[in-house]
């Protein structure tokens, strides 16, 4: 409870820092929204022309895309600088976080908090369009809504865990940008599309090594297409929590390593 209060305070401070540069704040929010809209537009254009991809309609593909980008927005909002650990390692500013009587990860997460307006708004818009369409055709009912919220939350935990694990590697190799490109950017881009389009090895990769498939595709099989059972959603949450636990462990080990070898 004490930590949550602490975190909220740090987050508020971050927001106030951001607001010192109002123009930049709104400018970057609008730009981020445009970038995201264009990204989705590419998929939409293809699907509008060709109807479906391996049996996935535009509404379904949009759902996959929106769920994932909302999860990502949440992760990047609440743990922004986990993604930027490299900067802390290179400049040595991790030291000042270590001086605080606060868990280092919490202090890191609260740095540079930013509300991802752009991503949130376009994610919600696409989600509303996709779910609206599917409800009209009767493919899904209102029960899909709470499940979707759960999936988004569990997805953000999953993405956070993947991000944290990747960042933790920085304690050993310092330069993690290239690794992040693979585990975060490439893997997430892959999960924006229905996974059945990929060759088997890539599908395997995306549900085991970098299990980003559990952020949207796997639970959607049940929510949208009523395949398997609700246990798919449960499994997705389980995978997210398991990876989160592993990531926390790894973080502790990595931090201890930093403290015993850092310079």
């Amino acid at each position: 409870m004490k930590w949550i209060h602490m975190y909220a305070l740090l987050v508020r401070a971050s927001i106030r820092s951001r607001m010192q540069y109002k123009f930049n704040f709104w400018f970057s929010s609008i730009m981020a929204a445009i970038i995201n809209v264009v990204e989705f537009l590419m998929l939409a254009v293809i699907l509008l022309k060709f109807g479906h991809i391996k049996g996935w309609s535009l509404a379904e593909a949009g759902y996959l895309y929106a769920v994932l980008s909302l999860s990502k927005a949440l992760y990047r909002m609440f743990a922004s600088d986990v993604h930027h650990l490299e900067k802390y390692l290179v400049t040595g500013s991790l030291d000042s976080l270590l001086l605080r009587p606060v868990p280092v990860l919490l202090a890191l997460m609260s740095q540079n908090f930013s509300i991802k307006f752009g991503e949130l708004i376009q994610g919600i818009a696409i989600l509303a369009f996709s779910m609206g369409t599917m409800m009209q055709t009767g493919q899904i009912t209102w029960t899909a809504l709470p499940l979707t919220v759960i999936v988004i939350l569990s997805g953000s935990v999953l993405l956070f865990a993947i991000g944290l694990l990747t960042a933790t590697a920085g304690f050993w190799i310092t330069r993690i940008e290239e690794l992040q490109n693979i585990t975060e950017d490439a893997a997430r881009t892959a999960a924006q599309y229905p996974m059945s389009i990929y060759p088997k090895w890539l599908q395997g990769l995306l549900i085991s090594v970098i299990p980003v498939g559990f952020a949207n595709y796997m639970p959607s099989l049940y929510i949208l297409r009523h395949e398997a059972g609700i246990w798919l959603v449960g499994l997705s949450i389980l995978v997210a929590l398991a990876l989160f636990t592993i990531a926390l462990r790894a973080w502790k080990i990595g931090l201890a390593r930093y403290q015993s070898t850092g310079s």
């Binding site: 730009m31 970038i35 998929l43 293809i46 991809i53 391996k54 330069r175 290239e178 490439a186 990929y198």
Partner: protein, 258 residues
């Protein structure tokens, strides 16, 4: 010669990071494979117009590799950084035109990326994907010309984006917005004729097709080299704009002291 000195310096300074860049190529190649998979998924049970499945795979693969020539340059040619540090004022008073300085450096960057990114990525695709490869030497020559012009347009664009930092302090976002538009309008993922008519019209009225669509179609033998007249037109126009922008920057720096 200043041009070669600057370009060489940039090439060499990149060279020390090449092992990291080779790792990065894995991610870049993966992105291309994702897009190829999208089209393979679409192409299942459909004919894909004049391209055919192999054609569209070749199209997307070549585009992905040529990102490193026509799209991924130094963000704003590094001007955002030099605006923040005040270095820009110094660069502007040098006896060599700022645009020429930065452009020369960027050609070194592009040369490096051609060797260490374009070639490895395309080589990888050549072995794992069913690619269409031109048989006539002249096609390679025209492709090289098309990519060079595309790179020049991209350099100009980044110069303008970088210059914007003098007014907005944040040019990083403009870089990514330009990138997003280029994904959609340059025919990077979707050939322009398949865009909805209104988007296709916007695209055809812009310079974006000359970054990816035209070079790649020349490479695949689907376009005649005469399309490069359009590239030349945009190159000329952008050169004029870049020179004008430099003038504005100079006035701005003189008034505000950077």
């Amino acid at each position: 010669m200043l041009f070669l000195t600057l370009a060489r310096k940039m090439y060499l300074s990149n060279l020390q990071y090449r092992s990291a860049h080779l790792v990065h190529n894995i991610a870049s190649a993966l992105f291309g494979l994702i897009y190829v998979s999208v089209w393979t998924g679409i192409g299942e049970g459909r004919s894909l117009g004049e391209y055919g499945l192999n054609g569209i795979i070749s199209y997307v693969a070549f585009n992905q590799a040529s990102l490193w020539i026509a799209a991924f340059l130094n963000n704003g040619l590094g001007m955002e950084q030099s605006v923040r540090t005040g270095q820009i004022a110094l660069d502007l008073v040098r006896p060599v035109h700022l645009f020429y300085q930065l452009m020369s450096k960027e050609w070194g960057q592009i040369a490096y990326q051609f060797v260490y990114k374009f070639l490895p990525i395309y080589a990888l695709y050549f072995f794992v994907l069913p690619l269409h490869v031109p048989s006539s030497v002249i096609t390679y020559v025209w492709t090289a010309v098309a990519l060079t012009l595309a790179a020049y347009i991209s350099i100009c664009l980044n110069y303008i984006i970088g210059a914007a930092a003098l007014w907005t302090t944040e040019s990083r976002w403009l870089y990514w917005v330009n990138y997003a538009f280029s994904m959609l309008l340059s025919g990077f993922l979707i050939p322009i004729e398949w865009l909805p008519p209104w988007l296709a019209a916007i695209s055809r009225a812009s310079f974006y097709p000359f970054l990816h669509y035209v070079p790649t179609r020349i490479y695949l033998g689907m376009e005649s080299p005469s399309a490069l007249a359009g590239s030349l037109f945009w190159c000329a126009l952008f050169t004029v704009v870049c020179l004008a922008v430099t003038g504005m920057m100079r006035r701005k720096v003189e008034v505000q002291g950077g």
